[in-house]
Symmetry: D2
Subunit: 463 residues, 4 copies
């Protein structure tokens, strides 16, 4: 047993998808700011050059900020090399390219099916899952063989399916999935408190919420500030909005409707269920019956959110590649500020540097007693010395259970289908998705087209 | 302890809804044919005269058929009198009148929502439930107070909600719910065996099916004849139909599409899920997403089933009243043949006259481990000396769970709402029903209208 | 799919342990009496000659009784040959020889620990389990490879551990375990009814009991004759015995205390728990705290039961071998009468020749919700076309749960230990057994001696 | 909604048993040291004078230490007055007097049954429970009626039974039970780390343990310091002790064997189960089979712990009363230092002043999936804004389950018995306790004597 001092000075992180122009830099910043730990980061990416570039950019940080934590970045050519000796593995990959995502999101439009994100559920989410599961199979096996004791943090979507695959392939894995969607809803609650009471300066760290559900379709059935109950305030706020209509909501301020929303879906779901939906409206609307919020683009607009076109992602990627170029050439330097993600804090807690309570995605051991055991669910969990343990969230209220339970079953079917490269079972899931209004024949046509469009990333399937 | 001989000669049955012109006569016939038991039947009905008429008709049977079992029929003026001393209580009532049912079924048509039955789920089923629960509350309390040890057999719809209410109000009640929908599907399987193999003469008693799900949305995941598996035969049969199209299905013979169907929905659900749906298509189609089979009357027709108009029920009632008149006047006599129902056999088994295995509706004690405990589910059960015990059905397969679980939650919400006379919670359930495509404002308008139309039978609700 | 007629005329049974002089003959008789089925029986035994002798004896039956069902018996030299084509596999073996059993039962006596049977729990049962599990591993693998669809009926002890091993090794196996101990208690209840009410002629087939617990430590929490409750009669009976003392119990008649008992343990357990213990006293007393009924031979005698010495088994075996000799030489012929076992009836039910309800040992799928899932429990089950499905027995009452739950855990530990050939874990179980009063040092000495005594049958263990 | 500032300046605590000379002073000190909160404390005690004295002593603290938190103490004459307006209720009472406890602990000695504590399980614990449950019924009803939203912290033994009673009587109560036994074991682990590795200065706050089981029979199946596993170190340590024997253990230093122990029981239980027992040896030994550690006083001594005689408690009380006198007269002043209890920290966390993870006793919602739901179990829980939520502890390993499950059932029986004032059911539990080796007749004699001895505190029982 090493003393803690020694241990936290030699932390080894393997980053799968380490060539990213976005998440990678966010992680680098948070690591630089984490005073109590230092060590090395292996970057692995199928685009090795991108990983090399990020290693260069990462190593600049300490040179430029020697008062910060020291981390050494290194690109690795193989997954196995990257994983060797890892204490933590971070997975943040794009499954396929934006070309595949373009098919996922926009092919269904030809059949009148619109998608706001298309990476989690719905036709796009399902096809994306079919190509993601084999990748996560490979990763899980490599972790099992190379660094079975490492803690694994996944950021890739479809989150639930990625984490479930890791555990299906290597049941002893110490993996969890992180997503910041709940954080924004907690921020929104703070805004609501301020609006309704005038109390200022409350941040999401000051409140406690009971998180339950699944990733991107997560719910809060209890919320407290001190011993005061936030739910009645939220109800009041929502009722006022109902009266005031969209104008009043707009008073929250202008938003970029490509990625943000007016929170109208979230509030409508509260009216329907009495529980706070805790994800962005673009995600929430993909889980509910298609005619509620996404029948057509007009209905989408009327609910104050937007459909994110993949063209936007292409354009955004170009900007990020330009930034990368500038960082490499020295025209620009990374501004070191906290990313808002909690991954590095979680690592610190696991290393024994202070307990932490936050929401994560983990297999259900009973923390949500009325969802199937083993399915991946999102609840609060305690992070502490080598420990990530879910908190009992309790049973989903009936109104939420009715919405969430079918999606859990659908995602279980998809993982099963993808692990067995079974397109027929995948199509069964596709057919029953809440956003599949087509009769079987057209649905099959669409499914086959989407599969064909992305077949380059569907190894082992009989296509 | 009496010897069995004594006991089975003095069986006392209380029949709630005993003025019926249909079910009552069916029960009378089965009782007359039940050689091992005899006794008396108390008929209770809010229409006392109807009960008196049935008592008269019932007492004619033994007079006309002295070789059959002797049963004495008696009309009672109060529920309590009817229940006094009962060994068995049969509940088969119409909650409200066909006027209320007309509102249930046809009011939603003004909003483009069509219903094939409208007595279980959907807008009609929910409003019907709101008036049924208070009636079952009254009945459950009377049983608790007057004959707590009696066995209670319910035939009333919405079945799940009726049985759940009995147990919510009097948890020690010995109640179960019976429905013959599964029987027809078992008959259909026998037909399939004959078609596919040429083996003739198989009846539903010769096969064993694993029954799982909820009433009117019940499923068979296993089916055997001897040790032979029926599932591959069924798959073959369904695939052939798919190829041959509706003409081939028609070869099954002409059917009265008001009440019967071409089983096309049933077979489509098999294609979608790999599990045999075990209820009439008119019921099945009310549980699945509205756009699958019931978007509009044309889609209904194209799936080979019909929408039962309440006018048909009015007309049918007239015919049955005419029959009643003739039976009373002696112009006609009841033909004593088995009804196809199993209620009397179940009574015999409970009295110790031979074990029996059949499907019934009971609170979930774990017989379907992935549905909520306490919710009423339909599975096989063993009937034996004073015993009705569910058989372990096992977890619903994911494809079925995704369809059934939300309905279970919806029905739990409705029972909760109705017991508390809480229209807001009832509206929450109404909004999330699979057959509610309307936005909240129109949905509320429809809900309020339907409630107002039937308010005479909604005691205690704030309307 | 074959017609039923064809199927039931060519039933193939594989009998593992088919050289037995006892069970084998019982099965032969029941098969001869089973009018609806016929076919062949492969006898496999590690003593091939014994199997050959039994084949000869078996084939004599039809020759001597041509009016009975025709079965052809054949000895096979390998397990695989015997299993080929089997519809049913019967397992009834002696794990090791009586020499090993002698060590199991009598070695602990040197440390003051007495055992009445020594084949299920206690020091003897645990050591026996260690040599039985590897044998059942071999059998399970052979069934998996040769006849995975066959139904497997186990009669071997320790029952729970044998059945659990089959499922651990081959989870898809269709196996169950049968034991007649519950039947005797049901007979005893009929005797009680007669004594308390004077009603005569009731047999165990006329009553219904809810069976719950584990093999040899099984319980009845409900018992009915018609709708009449047997429990109050049993309570009365037990209370009278308490008053009358042992003299009155003796009035039940003289019993062979080597194998039978005065049912005093059974009745004392009713006083302690309010639930009917449903196994022979010799078994029951091995599960309860050692000081309750088995502190020393005097206490055993005072409770009206006996310790079965292995010398008795040796002697009994000699007699049975003599019978075998006479049957082979023709000096004696098998008298064909029902054995009282239900195995052949169960086969008939599985073949579709009539449903049946009886108690068997099966993995817990939730039929006893407060025992661990997967652990083998004994409850009622429905036998029907290719179906053996447990009936929901319900949660064990607290007073029974407190006694049964620790044994379930102990047996789970033993199976785990034996599958991993892990003597340390086995010793953990040995130490916590209810009949292990020794401190750790002496316990270890005893354990090591017992292991050494039987090491010939402990392959793969580090001894 | 008040701002947090306002809320934490007016905290109202009701202390039931507030006349205590021990716990009360400990709480007063911790409150004085809690900088972020202040308010008032109502002291209620059946000895009103004692409460008044403590109020006087409590109010002295702020006078003498004006730099500390200000708390106003007040004695109340009725429970209802004390509870009025309470944010927190602390329950720490002696059920009965030491005279009753003398009967609990020493009456069984006449039958050869020795007890080390006698307040949780065993004959003494059971009789104590019978008089405690009615007191907690009264308290639960008063909380329900007067301050239903208050948080309730129980310190009274038998802990499990007290907390269970609170929830049985008032299911919506926000109650939990606190006990410091686990803390000492965590301290012991720090000592083990130091011994085995030389690393110094680790405190129990630096390590993370997974707590599971029930109060006073609690277990740790995982323990980490940073990411390093403490279990192998503990195993090593225990093995060395085994070799070195009691002398080496004594090197831990001299201990007062009336209250402390040599931890030999704890280590023996690790050898038997592979899991760390986390309570004092005096408690642990009361739960395990009587012949393991408590057959007679000699065996107790040989295991390095002591039997605490009630005479010692009488003497100790006298000393504490003398201290009380001196505090009142001013001869002595309370030294303000932390008590080591966590109650005040928990209150702060609940008030929103910082999250906290610690072990508490709560009804099982599934945090230990293989123990009965509703039974009170001890696990870690998260304390946060108005939130005490158990952490998923996971299933008890088989070796622990076998020991703990029967005690859970026994305690469920006792609560049921006491709530119904049912001495027969209580005697059933008494008979099956691990420390009841007597035959039924002597056991009943002992039970009746103990009940008679304490009948003054057994209201409503038929004695």
């Amino acid at each position: 047993m090493q003393s803690r001092e020694n241990k936290t000075k030699n932390v080894k992180i393997a980053y799968i998808g380490g060539g990213s122009r976005g998440w990678a830099w966010a992680l680098m910043k948070d690591l630089a700011l984490a005073k109590s730990i230092s060590g090395e980061v292996s970057l692995y990416d199928i685009d090795y050059e991108a990983a090399q570039n990020n290693a260069y950019i990462g190593n600049l940080i300490y040179k430029q900020n020697p008062e910060m934590s020291k981390w050494e970045y290194k690109a690795e050519k193989t997954l196995e090399q990257a994983l060797t000796g890892a204490d933590f593995v971070v997975i943040s990959i794009l499954p396929g390219t934006f070309k595949e995502m373009e098919s996922d999101v926009h092919t269904p439009e030809k059949y009148g099916i619109y998608q706001s994100v298309g990476d989690t559920v719905g036709p796009g989410g399902i096809i994306r899952a079919l190509r993601t599961v084999p990748m996560f199979e490979t990763i899980a096996k490599a972790i099992r063989d190379v660094c079975p004791d490492a803690w694994v943090i996944n950021y890739t979507n479809p989150m639930t399916i990625c984490v479930r695959t890791l555990y299906r392939v290597f049941p002893q894995i110490k993996a969890f999935g992180c997503c910041h969607e709940v954080f924004s809803t907690q921020d929104f609650l703070c805004y609501v408190i301020e609006k309704q009471t005038g109390i200022q300066g409350i941040t999401r760290k000051d409140i406690t919420t009971n998180v339950m559900g699944i990733n991107h379709f997560t719910w809060l059935d209890k919320a407290y500030y001190g011993t005061a109950d936030i739910m009645p305030l939220y109800r009041e706020f929502v009722e006022n909005q109902q009266l005031g209509g969209i104008e009043d909501i707009r008073s929250i301020g202008p938003r970029d409707l490509v990625f943000e929303s007016m929170d109208m879906v979230k509030m409508d779901l509260f009216r329907r269920t009495g529980v706070i939906a805790a994800a962005g409206d673009r995600h929430l609307a993909e889980f509910t019956p298609i005619n509620w919020y996404m029948r057509d683009p007009e209905q989408v607009t009327s609910w104050g959110y937007g459909l994110t076109p993949v063209s936007w992602r292409f354009k955004n990627l170009e900007e990020r590649m330009e930034t990368s170029r500038k960082l490499l050439s020295g025209e620009e330097t990374l501004q070191i500020s906290p990313s808002g993600e909690e991954g590095v804090n979680q690592m610190c807690a696991i290393l024994g540097l202070g307990d932490m309570l936050t929401n994560v995605n983990l297999p259900n051991q009973g923390q949500i007693p009325n969802l199937p055991l083993g399915a991946v669910v999102e609840t609060n969990a305690v992070f502490s010395n080598n420990t990530v343990q879910p908190v009992m969230a309790g049973a989903l209220p009936d109104s939420i259970y009715a919405l969430v339970a079918p999606v859990v079953a659908e995602q279980e079917m998809i993982v099963e289908a993808a692990l067995n490269r079974d397109l027929e079972l995948a199509f069964e899931a596709f057919m029953r998705d809440a956003h599949m209004p087509l009769p079987m024949k057209e649905a099959r046509e669409l499914f086959d087209t989407m599969v064909a469009n992305t077949k380059e990333y569907l190894p082992g399937y009989k296509i």
